[in-house]
């Protein structure tokens, strides 16, 4: 399925009440804000950017790094122009007396966490939470960064691509919507090679077969 590339300022059609993403509207006419791929339907007009930094959205599951410890929580580097805050209440179940307990006991600087974006305000105050079924601290392993907009390709339709990589390499892999990927164990190097190849050749036909061959049996 070929998708149309649009540029900032490209006219996409009339809004007709539809939801728009990465577009702007003038007189009910919709224009693209960014260089990206157009997805248009009866309910929605959206442009998926082909480049750019990660801008957090509520619900995204991401991989972050603890950057700073505060009295009531932690600042997290989420690979974005903005950093996120993990409040104590969203990270720890038990009651904590902040006057007596050192928060590094729970999460220390440079710890890697798989968490969920729970709040994004207009002024880009970002909040994350560990109170998600899939959230956890990630021990050991290494992290790599890819363009956030290629994450969907790395995951594949219904998770098919990432599952294939995990199976063939035996590695534990977590993929964050923010473009950060954590890998541990198994044939790590092969997994990384595969992921970086997908990032570079996301548009190539027959990519799945190529990756499968690269990973061998």
């Amino acid at each position: 399925m070929q998708r149309e590339i649009v540029l900032p300022g490209t006219y996409l059609g009339e809004r007709k009440g539809r939801k728009v993403t990465n577009c702007y509207v003038e007189d009910d006419k919709v224009f693209s804000k960014v260089l990206g791929v157009l997805k248009i339907s009866e309910e929605e007009i959206s442009v998926v950017p082909l480049a750019g930094k990660y801008f957090p959205k509520v619900g995204d599951r991401i991989i972050g790094r603890i950057e700073e410890i505060e009295v009531s929580g932690w600042w997290v580097d989420i690979n974005s122009p903005y950093r996120a805050f993990l409040p104590l209440g969203e990270a720890v179940e038990e009651f904590v007396d902040v006057r007596r307990v050192d928060l590094s006991r729970f999460y220390d600087i440079d710890d890697i966490i798989f968490c969920k974006i729970t709040k994004v305000t207009k002024n880009k105050i970002i909040q994350v939470s560990m109170k998600d079924m899939l959230a956890r601290k990630l021990f050991g392993g290494i992290t790599i960064k890819i363009t956030p907009y290629k994450v969907a390709r790395v995951i594949g339709k219904g998770g098919s691509m990432i599952e294939m990589i995990k199976k063939k390499t035996g590695s534990e892999i977590y993929v964050g919507q923010n473009g950060v990927i954590w890998i541990k164990g198994g044939k790590k190097e092969k997994a990384i090679e595969a992921i970086l190849t997908i990032e570079k050749e996301a548009h190539v036909v027959g990519l799945t077969e190529k990756i499968a061959k690269m990973l061998g049996e």
Binding site: Q2, I5, L7, P8, K33, Y82, Y149, H203
Partner: protein, 242 residues
């Protein structure tokens, strides 16, 4: 008043053989600088500019941050070897003024509301100068911004126009820039018909100014088509399997 020893128009042709409304050869490319979030190289004849864009990224110190909009910063600089007499690399008053008007010209097109408290840094370097450097750099900046995924209302296209030997011309080269009766730099969002940069000096009647602006608009539209072509070619159509 600097007067050229050689006439600038002979038999209807300019000193480099062009017709008054003819542009020099234009080359555009994207993505040379791997460390940048976006980059582009544009040349008009012998004038060549390279631009790198970094951002949006966190802005420090904090007092520079505006809570509801982002910041755009531009540094225009000329490499010492870009001109006849070596240019001192330190920023001079001309470069500072050009950086300011360029920042204003590009900010007009950028959705700064989309990255509050953050900054987009645009670094422009003139590798070779033969007239019309600031507009060449703006054309490159526009490509670099788009390829970095910066949200904009439209691309920005720019050109120079002017008057030499009583003739209205477009895309001034170095000599024409120096000896013109008037020269004008124009940048605009072509699909909106809105001008984001306008600088003019010389002696023109109101009608001549308007005539030159009309020519500038036409030229900017041509440059816009080239910019779009380069972007489409660089970011090939994505094919999704199934």
């Amino acid at each position: 008043m600097k007067k050229s020893e050689v006439p600038l128009i002979i038999n209807g042709r300019r000193i480099d053989g062009r017709l008054p409304e003819e542009l020099r050869e234009i080359k555009m490319s994207i993505g040379e600088i791997s460390n940048a979030d976006g980059s582009a190289r544009v040349s008009f004849g012998k004038t060549e500019a390279i631009v790198a864009v970094y951002g949006p990224r966190a802005l420090f110190p904090k007092f520079l941050q505006e809570s509801d909009v982002g910041l755009v910063r531009v540094i225009y600089s000329m490499s010492p070897f870009s001109v006849d007499e070596r240019k001192n690399p330190a920023p001079d008053r001309r470069s500072i003024e050009i950086s300011k008007v360029t920042k204003e010209a590009l900010t007009a097109a950028i959705f700064i509301e989309d990255f509050p408290k953050a900054v987009v840094d645009i670094y422009e370097n003139i590798i070779q100068a033969d007239g019309s450097t600031r507009v060449t750099a703006i054309n490159a900046a526009s490509l670099a911004l788009a390829s970095a995924g910066i949200p904009m209302r439209d691309l920005v296209a720019a050109c120079s126009v002017g008057k030499v030997d009583n003739t209205l011309i477009v895309d001034l080269n170095g000599k024409e820039d120096n000896y013109s009766e008037s020269d004008m730099a124009v940048a605009m969002m072509p699909s909106k018909g809105l001008i984001t940069l306008l600088q003019m000096d010389g002696r023109l009647t109101k009608e001549e100014v308007l005539e030159l602006l009309r020519k500038a608009e036409e030229v900017c539209k041509k440059i816009y088509e080239l910019q779009k072509k380069v972007l489409f070619e660089k970011f090939k159509v994505e094919r999704e399997e199934e």
